[in-house]
Symmetry: C2
Subunit: 329 residues, 2 copies
């Protein structure tokens, strides 16, 4: 029997605090060597878009085995009135190999990407943080705010948002104020975000740095989850140089995909040894923030373990609550 | 909408002549550079079995994009009363990336593996071939016989089968005689198969050669679809040396996985240049059999393009014939 879960089912079953806990556990098991994230497979030519095949396995107590198939087709909205990004997650029973759950993966992708930032906030932001500045007001960004809110144990009070599309920012403001009960201010420029914010999140499609690193206040925690190509970045070399702690969802993944780290490494500004997987901090191998004045950075390019963990969470809950359709095929 | 197809649906929709045509087309498009078979991903630890993730894309007129997730868990029968091999194929719309079909992949795996042999028989066996000797009487072997039958344009008259399990061979005899209307003889030894057979098929789980290559008659065509590890093989170095034409489903795949070729290469008996993808013969780049006395060999380790092609065939036919369940998720 295969449990099929629509986007609506997933929405009903998944909340950010749980996503955060599961992504944290995934990072922990990765560092402990109980999880494996194979290099993902990308397929394009001769298709007009990109498909990524992202399998992964997490042992420990989670015992999760799943594969996400996610496609990014830029022509979809215009040509077919369909979303650019489509995703499904196939969950296997780790004991038999059988595919037991298949679910829409779009919300899970947004939630697990948010959760990555949430985990970094939990471990690296100043404990007295109350304000966030976020680049982009898109769907992804909204889950980022929610994740920061829960990563700070609901202590987030204010959020400044900057988006080139003003109407998207206004929609964001309405949604976030209603959802989280925090004040949202629409910034007039990207630089605006840098003042009076304890945490900065970059969740854009930009391939060049969003702000000048020398304008960032001491004590800030920064999370970048956009840009994921060796020659693309959201953060400039200055902020990487100023930061006293550079972390990654998974160090190896960032070293092969994140220009935010690859470019300053190639410039000789930092070395690979300066970067730590967040799991190292979660398990206590590496100390996190040590003062209120230091700048901390987290970079995530997205790894299958996040999808595998959250997919398992959703599947288990669907079984428990009897949600979704069960089909024998 | 996603079309879900059970094993029964797939059985209803798929026949060997079509599987053969689609696998042939996949090989052709691979050689023409219109298809891509990424290195498959294998996941085991910490699971008690192996999962293979096999995506692929085929352009040309087929326009197929799909991923097979296949698991091999040896404990399944004993521990869970479930099959060792479980598989599902996710078919995407190549134009939008959307997953539009999900189907049971076990029959497709057997059929496409058979079809590979069938294509080799079509191009490489003597035109006057009428007899087959097959090692193993298992599920896989039965599809091999069917494929040889269709690869020979229904001219197959006799089949000798050898299996260590006599009752499996007897069951095989009953099934094949009924299905194809040919005579099946149960051989008493592996060597028995070598006499009076125009075509030899090896479809076993053996990791060592099944027969001595010097006992094979001139003019024989041999297909080996078992053994798929660099140190495992069904064919010995003698037969590889005697053969005048060595072919592969996909040369690159066999050079990294098939001991049947890797071992004799390492022994200096043949060189990589002596091996040709069957697609080269299909498109006419390389001549096939040139005389009735030469020995030809085909080796296949199984590649995603076979699953992608046959998966697309089954999906298209399901849509056309209104078979399967359509679910929006």
């Amino acid at each position: 029997m295969v449990r099929l879960l629509t986007k609506e089912n997933v929405t009903e079953l998944l909340n950010m605090p749980d996503a955060l806990a599961y992504v944290e556990e995934a990072y922990k098991q990765l560092t402990l060597g109980n999880a494996i994230v194979p290099q993902r497979i990308g397929i394009t030519d001769p298709a007009p878009g990109l498909t990524l095949i992202m399998p992964g396995i997490i042992g420990g107590e989670m015992n999760a085995l799943a594969t996400k198939i996610v496609s990014v087709y830029k022509q979809n909205p215009e040509k077919y009135n369909m979303p650019t990004v489509l995703a499904k997650i196939m969950v296997q029973d780790i004991n038999t190999g059988d595919i037991v759950g298949i679910m829409d993966g779009s919300l899970i992708t947004a939630m697990r990407t948010g959760a990555a930032t949430g985990v970094s906030v939990k471990y690296l932001a100043r404990k007295n943080s109350t304000s966030l500045g976020i680049y982009s007001a898109g769907v992804q960004a909204r889950k980022q705010v929610s994740a920061v809110y829960w990563g700070l144990n609901e202590k987030l009070e204010r959020c400044k948002v900057y988006d080139l599309k003003k109407y998207v920012a206004e929609d964001f403001k309405k949604e976030i104020e209603e959802e989280l009960g925090i004040d949202v201010e629409i910034a007039n420029s990207g630089d605006d975000l840098l003042f009076g914010t304890d945490i900065i999140v970059a969740a854009t499609t930009s391939t060049i740095p969003l702000f000048s690193g020398d304008r960032v206040a001491e004590g800030t925690h920064i999370s970048s989850i956009g840009a994921h190509a060796p020659d693309a970045r959201e953060l400039d070399s200055t902020i990487i140089k100023r930061a006293s702690l550079l972390t990654a969802g998974l160090k190896e993944a960032c070293l092969s995909e994140a220009g935010d780290y690859i470019i300053p490494i190639n410039e000789g500004i930092i070395a690979e040894d300066n970067i730590f997987s967040i799991g190292e901090i979660i398990i206590g191998n590496k100390q996190g923030r040590t003062s209120d004045s230091e700048i901390t950075v987290f970079k995530s390019v997205g790894i299958s373990a996040q999808d595998v963990a959250v997919g398992k969470l959703v599947y288990d809950r669907a079984i428990k609550e009897g949600i979704g359709q069960e089909i024998d095929f």
